[in-house]
Symmetry: C2
Subunit: 687 residues, 2 copies
């Protein structure tokens, strides 16, 4: 969507402009005038000839030209009519600050939907309602009623902030100013009648002034749009740092009471962030730290970190942190290490490279170590701890010069310095492309995040053709057959309709038999006596067959009895549960977890959007510990991990091809044996 | 130990005092003079009549009085003689800044050990060598060569910093100054020839000026002393915030190369911190945040947190964090909620209590919500997010007044405010006993840490009488018998010396039989064909007996064959590994983990110092997921958790009673069945 009129308007009308500069309709007029907006400002107010010393207009119709942007600050009751007038006038964008719409109930939601529909039809970009507005720092556009800009405006920069929440947006604005973070745009989306956080990210991905995007999301209505926008930003090389609240159950409960909307399952959001390379921040602090980090210098080309330190202990602390984050700490090559050891007797030249307190009397060794490590080819990034040295007015300029030298010598190796720097020193280091932190572990964390972001590869996903099915509930045998037809192997089994057939099936299958009632009406077969296991003789099989039918007839008389499934008992290396469902926000998702007793020890499940890729499935199988179970551990046989990945991929593609027809599809258990992969039982129904 | 002469000396001699105020021997003279030390300063220098305008003495013997404290800043070669002279003179404490001792090799270590021994005999408190010294902020004692105090001294306060590392200490000092953290003492212990971090914590636990202790530890030599000191501080109601580096393997490797000493296994340190209520900080940031948090206001009496927020989204973020940390978020009682809802139409009165942006036009509702929640009896602590409001010079004083009212109304409910405050506002809030953070999750984290610390109960541990045993390697049958004699039940088993005896044993035991070779010489019995399982008939048992003896004779001809153990195959609900060993730093520790295939899914092990308590064992069994396995999950039988805790306690007591006699003691597996707890196999040997 074209959002230039919203973000860089040549003229702004304020509908409901107030003489009082503290009011919702007065603040934007004040801000635009005081903070240097260069375009035309048209206050609209039926009962004033002037507003804050500007000539006012009685109505939208009276405006001399159609304004690029209109700021609507009327009471809710008057907004819809004003929007119609703006459309009639030919206005191209509107920010509706007014509240009293969807957040008030159904009537408000209906009004809001009508406004959005008419705006869409007219090609008007609508932000809000119930939002705190928008700012473009370079353009000096302050279309907001937040008084925050009066206390000072952050410098113009390359970081954009987009927030669903106004209060969060205002807080973020103040933090940016305080932390010296340079901003391009600041956008709050409020009720998102038309424009959503996803739309704004989509536009920012193309915006030349923006290099990094900080996004605050409470819940997306259109998951596909969010996923597309995140992928587009990643493809444009612009990191998106996301704060998505409602991670935990308590948080989700709070979010629901706050937004009165289903925010979607958090694990699905995480899967989307993983798939699109978006970086999730868990705190506001971290969001800003990452925002600044991505705005300065390059991203490391790999995960090899060099640590240079004046304190062995702090070097160890940083090594702990690097290890937590999966960074490698290769040793300093001897060609660089040897001269260092000669110069500093106690210098530890492994990694961390500890130049010791000696540095106090011989500062140049620090530069020697930093430049040596940077140009050694052994490291993709460098973290340097200088303790209190940066605080010294004598040492600080020397350290800055050393850093400049090291950066010039190895421009591809990003660096982060840890120490206490005053504002000017910090600025000089950032200008040189070197990050600065007081907390040593923060340097390691941001370098790890940048390396991880750089390593993300856009994966092309094969989207399967839609599969049309009629609503139906399949029984076990039908479900296994359906899966088998689509490439998901089933464990050997037979359908028996008599004790004789059951015995014949057992004899054909071999081993110990498992018998289960077949019924599309029964989800929990064990509870009604519908399962017998470990049967080793004809007599046992006959008795089991009769027993199952008798028990089910007694305990679930209404359930259809469609026969008895006879299967061979398997000895799995791993027992999985593989399910698919239709997420209201993100569409088809699959859920993968351990089954049987193993789930008690690792109750984590992996969530993936479907269709997905082999790399993503493999990563999740590794995280669940499944790959280890298949690795021939303690002399047990190996399982075929490739085949398992393939089965999961087919299952995900099948689920995706069903689209909204997908009701329930679950394999439980999916057995991985030494002989292959097999679905031993399944539930399938179509909506 | 009496350390008053070290921390509050009436006179200080500087041995090796230098005219140059930048040198190691000159800096302390400069600092003591410039920063207002009130006692006598005696420079000792054989070749100067005056040092930095003070009369100098040619030798220690020439000093007019025995100084309370001597600062030794000589080259290493002269230090030992100087120490002897100081002892002869009657000096009561010495800080040895000089390096060149244990960190240089064996000769240095020997010199250092001699100095420590003579100091001990003479009752002289020795800090260092190779340390950065000591400061007492109130006393204006600056016995250090760090130039950091020249740039400014932190205000006097109730937080003490003790650091093994000088560089870390200097960094911490600068951070305290910058962050406005009030300090009582600052101590670096360096090589710890005599005084260790543990000794300093022990002294600070009694010190009236100190309320909170920040400790930085690379590795303790005397683990028992550290444990005693931490327990003493906890008993004195003084929180100890510990940064112990070397958490990860990479970190431990770095620490070892740095200190060239075995720092002890990190999990054992963690067990000690858990047992003594010490709070572990993972970053320098966190260490200071917790230090400040514990210095202001009370600790919450429980884990019920109330969240008051002006932003629903940030409230959700805080709820996520509270949930991560195990805090409860009970709803606001209706008596308080109803009037709030009346006043603010969209106010969410559950928890988070969201007073919405409305607060901008009606600030008093924030005070109403805060005081209402604080006095409601529903919360043990309150976290309040006010977004950018604190930055407003108009709103800030009103918010401070509200906080003061709320604190006065509910002095037992600690509060933390989140917002952007200037220095004066922050100071006013801290003075009122309310913590202040910019990052909303930090407020939740520190309140959780304080609640956890407050909930720690000193547990009295029953120390068993020492058990004297001769060095020996027991075979399986002897090992099980030894454990059984000390209250650890063994699974039913018999020792067979012939096929007939094996058959008789199987018949007596019932069920399926397991046969294993008995040999004190074999640790891995399966590898040499020494194990047969699942035997169901007389023929199978006979064949197994003969097969085992033949295989072992062939594959391990040197091993004694002391018979064959016959046991009944068990069906465990949980299979554990329970081991004990003698840690070089902390003495007896026990290690508890899952056994069998379960360990692959949860490879975590729990480490406990021994003897231990039922509460601690139970907590670790819960963390390992064992309690869940015994909980009758999915229709399986229940296991007796109390009996399991009891067996682990007996095992721990037995291991502790063996003390240094403990070689190896491991039960693998320890079976928990529906019938009880039983060691199925064990290795025991005495050193």
């Amino acid at each position: 969507m074209q959002l230039d009129a919203l973000f860089s308007p040549r003229s702004v009308a304020v509908i409901g402009a107030s003489q009082n500069p503290q009011k919702v309709g007065g603040m934007p007029v004040q801000l635009l005038q005081r903070l240097g907006y260069a375009g035309a400002i048209y206050p609209v107010n039926p009962s004033a000839a002037e507003v804050q010393a500007l000539p006012a207009y009685a109505s939208v119709a009276d405006l001399p030209v159609p304004p690029d942007l209109a700021i609507v600050a009327l009471p809710a009751a008057g907004v819809e009519a004003a929007m119609d007038q703006l459309i009639a006038k030919g206005t191209r964008a509107a920010v509706v600050l007014s509240s009293g719409f969807a957040e008030m109930g159904e009537a408000g939601a209906a009004t809001q939907a009508r406004m959005a529909e008419r705006a869409r039809a007219a090609g008007l970009a609508l932000l809000g309602p119930n939002c705190l507005g928008v700012m473009n720092i370079r353009h000096k556009l302050f279309a907001t009623f937040s008084p925050a800009p009066l206390a000072g405006v952050p410098q113009a920069g390359q970081v954009a902030i987009v927030s669903q929440s106004g209060a969060f947006g205002a807080y973020a604005f103040s933090l940016a100013r305080k932390g010296g973070l340079g901003l391009s745009h600041w956008v709050t989306t409020g009720n998102e009648a038309a424009l959503s956080v996803a739309d704004v990210i989509d536009w920012l991905a193309d915006d030349a002034d923006t290099r990094v995007i900080l996004a605050y999301i409470e819940g997306a209505r259109d998951g596909a749009a969010l996923q597309r926008a995140l992928a587009k930003a990643r493809a444009a090389g612009k990191p998106v740092i996301v704060t998505k609240v409602g991670r935990t159950e308590a948080g989700a409960r709070a979010a629901m009471s706050h937004t009165a909307s289903l925010s979607g399952e958090d694990a699905v959001y995480q899967a989307v962030f993983d798939a699109t390379g978006a970086i999730r921040a868990r705190t506001v602090d971290e969001m800003f730290r990452l925002g600044q980090a991505f705005a300065v210098g390059r991203a490391p080309a790999g995960r090899r970190l060099g640590i240079v330190t004046v304190s062995g202990g702090v070097g160890t602390l940083m090594a702990d942190s690097a290890s937590d984050l999966g960074l490698a700490l290769p040793e300093l090559p001897d060609a660089v290490a040897a001269p260092l050891r000669e110069r500093i007797p106690f210098c530890a030249t492994q990694n961390p490279i500890d130049v010791t307190g000696q540095v106090t009397s011989d500062l140049p060794v620090l530069g020697l170590a930093a430049s040596g490590a940077a140009t050694s080819g052994a490291y993709d990034a460098l973290a340097i701890f200088v303790a209190a040295a940066l605080a010294s007015p004598v040492l600080a300029p020397q350290i800055v010069a050393m850093v400049q030298d090291a950066v010039a010598a190895a421009p591809d190796v990003p660096m982060a310095l840890c120490g206490i720097a005053d504002a000017a020193t910090k600025q000089a280091l950032l200008q040189a492309g070197c990050l600065v932190f007081e907390e040593p572990t923060h340097a390691v964390e941001v370098l790890a995040a940048k390396a991880q972001w750089a390593a993300h590869h856009a994966e092309s996903v094969h989207v399967p053709a839609p599969l049309d099915v009629a609503p139906a509930v399949l029984n076990e045998v039908e479900a296994l057959a359906f899966l088998q037809r689509h490439g998901v192997p089933a464990a050997p089994h037979r359908l028996a309709q008599s004790p004789d057939e059951a015995v014949a099936a057992w004899q054909a299958l071999g081993g110990q038999a498992v018998l289960k009632i077949v019924s599309a009406d029964l989800l929990h077969k064990s509870d009604v006596g519908g399962v017998r296991v470990g049967l080793r003789s004809e007599a046992e099989v006959r008795e089991a067959y009769d027993g199952i039918l008798a028990d089910v007839a007694r305990l679930a008389p209404q359930a259809r009895r469609q026969g008895v499934l006879v299967a061979r008992k398997l000895s799995p290396l791993a027992e999985l549960v593989l399910g698919a469902r239709h997420d209201p926000v993100f569409g088809t998702v699959i859920v993968l977890g351990l089954g049987g007793v193993q789930v008690e020890l690792n109750p984590r499940t992996a969530v993936l959007t479907a269709p997905t890729t082999a790399a993503r499935v493999r990563a999740q199988l590794a995280a669940l510990g499944v790959l280890k179970l298949l690795g021939g551990w303690r002399g047990r046989p190996h399982g075929d991990a490739d085949a398992l990945v393939d089965v999961v991929l087919r299952f995900a593609a099948l689920a995706a091809s069903l689209g909204p027809r997908l009701g329930t599809m679950e394999i439980n258990p999916l057995m991985v044996t030494a002989d292959g992969i097999a679905a031993a039982d399944a539930v399938v129904n179509f909506a």
